[in-house]
């Protein structure tokens, strides 16, 4: 039984990360505390670097990764926003950094509780983004993350999101694979494109003129490549652990007339609601987006093209536009969806509200569920 934060720390430990720059922020802090204790006890061989801000954490991740070490960190909310400038540098330099974000609503007003606006602010930063639905998935995603990010056809950083408190502080049964098993799955990181070694001098982070667009197109290509790599790595993981992941998780959506699209740990309560309604004969289902970047458009079309009524739950809001995920799902499907803004700042949704929401689909509107 471990909490989501412990699962994240275990993922980093099993991946044999070497450098962990860090800065405390609720609700992430237990991750770095756990790692600090393992390093202190000798259970983990890594350098723990307490930095002076999250901006410095992201800078340290980029610098240490540039020298060819495997790096890890975790953050939340305001901390993730403070990293923003460096998020683009890390992805632009094509550094396979893995960072966990424990999502938390953004200030002001200041809140401790979870929603997805922090992650989605970084949507365009060139990082792969994975949303986890339970603690097992957190551990699995961190380990798989290195294999995906370090693939030569990808070489992009990845952010793995778990919902603050709902997952981060909740203990669940988690299978911790053996170190031998992981060592067989994840080889040592040996980069060819970034070496800060006097034996082979190269200049990194230099200026460009017209070539800028070329580099951006390469980054976009890498993001496209990552879809196939994620699927391959997930398939390999399934062989070892029996646990199956992909870009999306479809739950009873094949024969459904009504489907709700959702991200993260709320999917557990939504699944419970789906089961309850299906027991009453209602043709309802759920589609969980596990990957936000790359955006799994083909998978969404496959899952939803025959569905009559689609709703999207957004635990985020882009004021002046709407639910961010709803906007993207609409663009992907080329048809209207009912957009529900819910659970901001950790506001409880609950099965009874999901039941009501299923009854309010079929309208191309935005509705706030308080």
């Amino acid at each position: 039984m471990i909490a989501g934060n412990g699962a994240a720390a275990w993922g980093a430990r099993l991946a044999r990360v070497e450098i962990i720059p860090n800065f405390p922020i609720t609700p992430q802090t237990a991750i770095i505390e756990e790692i600090a204790s393992w390093i202190a006890s000798g259970e983990m061989d890594a350098d723990f670097l307490p930095m002076e801000s999250e901006h410095s954490v992201q800078s340290a991740l980029a610098a240490a990764s540039s020298a060819g070490t495997r790096v890890f960190s975790a953050t939340s909310s305001q901390g993730l926003l403070l990293m923003t400038e460096m998020m683009f540098v890390t992805s632009g330099l094509r550094l396979p950094v893995i960072m966990v974000n424990v999502s938390r609503g953004l200030s002001a007003p200041i809140t401790l509780w979870s929603d997805h606006n922090d992650v989605l602010v970084q949507r365009d930063s060139g990082w792969l983004q994975i949303f986890c639905s339970n603690n097992q998935e957190v551990l699995d995603s961190v380990v798989m993350g290195y294999k995906i990010a370090e693939n030569n056809d990808v070489l992009l950083p990845m952010m793995i999101n778990l919902d603050g408190f709902t997952l981060s502080a909740t203990r669940e049964p988690v299978d911790i694979p053996g170190q031998d098993e992981i060592d067989g799955f994840l080889p040592e990181y040996n980069p060819k494109h970034t070496i800060l070694d006097p034996k082979e001098p190269m200049s990194m982070g230099g200026a460009v003129f017209d070539e800028y667009m070329y580099f951006r197109s390469q980054q976009r290509m890498a993001m496209q490549n990552s879809k196939g790599v994620i699927k391959d790595v997930c398939a390999e993981w399934e062989k070892i652990t029996g646990r199956n992941y992909g870009l999306v998780e479809s739950y009873c959506s094949d024969d459904s007339a009504r489907v709700l699209v959702i991200c993260g740990s709320e999917s557990a309560i939504l699944k419970y609601t789906v089961d309850k309604l299906r027991a009453k004969g209602e043709k309802v289902g759920m589609l969980r987006l596990r990957a936000m970047r790359p955006f799994p458009c083909e998978e969404i079309i496959d899952a939803l093209s025959r569905v009559e009524e689609i709703g999207v739950i957004d635990q985020d809001i882009s004021p002046g536009s709407g639910g961010i995920i709803a906007t993207e799902v609409k663009a992907c499907l080329g048809r209207g969806v009912t957009s529900f803004i819910a659970g901001l700042g950790g506001r409880r949704i609950g099965a009874e509200k999901y039941e009501k929401i299923f009854g309010r689909l079929g309208r191309d509107v935005e509705e706030w569920i308080f």
């Binding site: 070497e18 450098i19 720059p21 350098d47 670097l49 930095m51 002076e52 801000s53 901006h55 410095s56 954490v57 800078s59 340290a60 991740l61 980029a62 610098a63 240490a64 990764s65 540039s66 020298a67 060819g68 070490t69 400038e85 460096m86 540098v89 330099l93 070496i195 800060l196 070694d197 006097p198 082979e200 001098p201 190269m202 200049s203 990194m204 982070g205 230099g206 200026a207 460009v208 003129f209 070539e211």
Partner: protein, 299 residues
């Protein structure tokens, strides 16, 4: 063992790790400072640059650098250096870590990150190439800009004096701190050698006269630097174990007007303004003389 310290100009190593053909301005003392520093640090050096003028040295697909170089952003040179120290150690790479960042990136936006590295006493050399302004964006005011200097953002002259950055570093109790100027290459390079020798963090504040920002002919940069020192406006010193020691004492100080009148950024000063600067500099040097040109800054 060969004496690592230089005595005369011809002792300076011939090898270059910053080579010609780059796009720094004519008469740029910042690129000269880096070229000189790399001569004594040698090929086993990794350079971390904070955004500024020097960031334009490598322009894709070319680079004038024969040592590894990384630039990430403006405000994180100290943090990047910290991480690199640990990463290179893990990779068994034995190299000097040279942070080379401007004064805006050091005194202002990067102070937090630099302070973090200093508090941890990371074994690296941090050279602040100090052109006393945000040079690369057009020489706007920084906290390193001297009082009365014109900048595009202080059109009537800066009201405040420059921050005492070496004293701030001294308060972090790092083992080696110095000021320098490329116009005095032997003094500067022996300080770089000492900075590389000490275990822990070394900070060198390098005054780099900037022809474009300060308003003088590109051929005059070395002379302007000499005047800054000979007038007593820029003092050359080291701080070791909290004790300041001057490394150069002008025998007879030149008048500050010679330095100030040679630069466009001070052209608005009246005779009376210049007299005030002279009086202030005289006061400082009288005090230094009384203390025997050495004093404790951290007790």
């Amino acid at each position: 063992m060969k004496d690592p310290y230089l005595k005369k100009l011809t002792d300076i190593p011939m090898e270059d790790y910053l080579v010609g053909g780059h796009v720094a301005c004519q008469g740029c003392s910042a690129s000269l400072g880096l070229r000189l520093a790399l001569k004594v640090l040698g090929k086993d050096t990794v350079v971390i640059n904070g955004s500024g003028c020097m960031t334009l040295l490598p322009v894709y697909p070319t680079t004038p650098l024969r040592v590894p170089w990384i630039h990430l952003a403006i405000e994180n040179t100290g943090a990047a250096g910290t991480a690199l120290y640990y990463a290179l150690r893990r990779k068994n790479v034995n190299a000097n870590i040279l942070c080379y960042a401007g004064d805006g990136a050091t005194y202002d936006i990067g102070l937090q990150s630099l302070s973090g590295a200093a508090e941890k006493n990371i074994d690296m050399i941090y050279i602040c190439y100090n052109n006393q302004s945000f040079g690369n964006t057009g020489h706007q005011r920084a906290s390193s800009t001297p009082r009365a200097s014109y900048t595009p953002t202080t059109p009537v002259g800066k009201a405040e004096a420059a921050k005492d950055m070496p004293a701030i570093m001294a308060a972090h109790r790092i083992p080696y701190i110095a000021t320098a100027c490329p116009s005095y290459p032997i003094d500067f390079l022996n300080k770089v050698t000492r900075a590389a020798e000490v275990k822990g963090m070394a900070y060198i504040d390098l005054l780099v006269p900037c022809p474009v920002g300060w308003g003088f002919d590109p051929s005059e940069g070395i002379d302007i630097g000499r005047l800054a020192v000979k007038t007593g406006i820029w003092k050359l010193y080291e701080i070791v174990d909290g004790r300041v020691n001057l490394t150069y004492i002008p025998k007879k100080r030149r008048k500050v007007s010679e330095y100030l009148r040679a630069q466009g950024r001070f052209s608005h000063l009246s005779e009376r303004d210049i007299e005030e600067v002279q009086a202030e500099v005289d006061r400082e040097w009288d005090e230094l003389e009384a203390r025997g040109y050495a004093y404790d800054i951290v007790v």
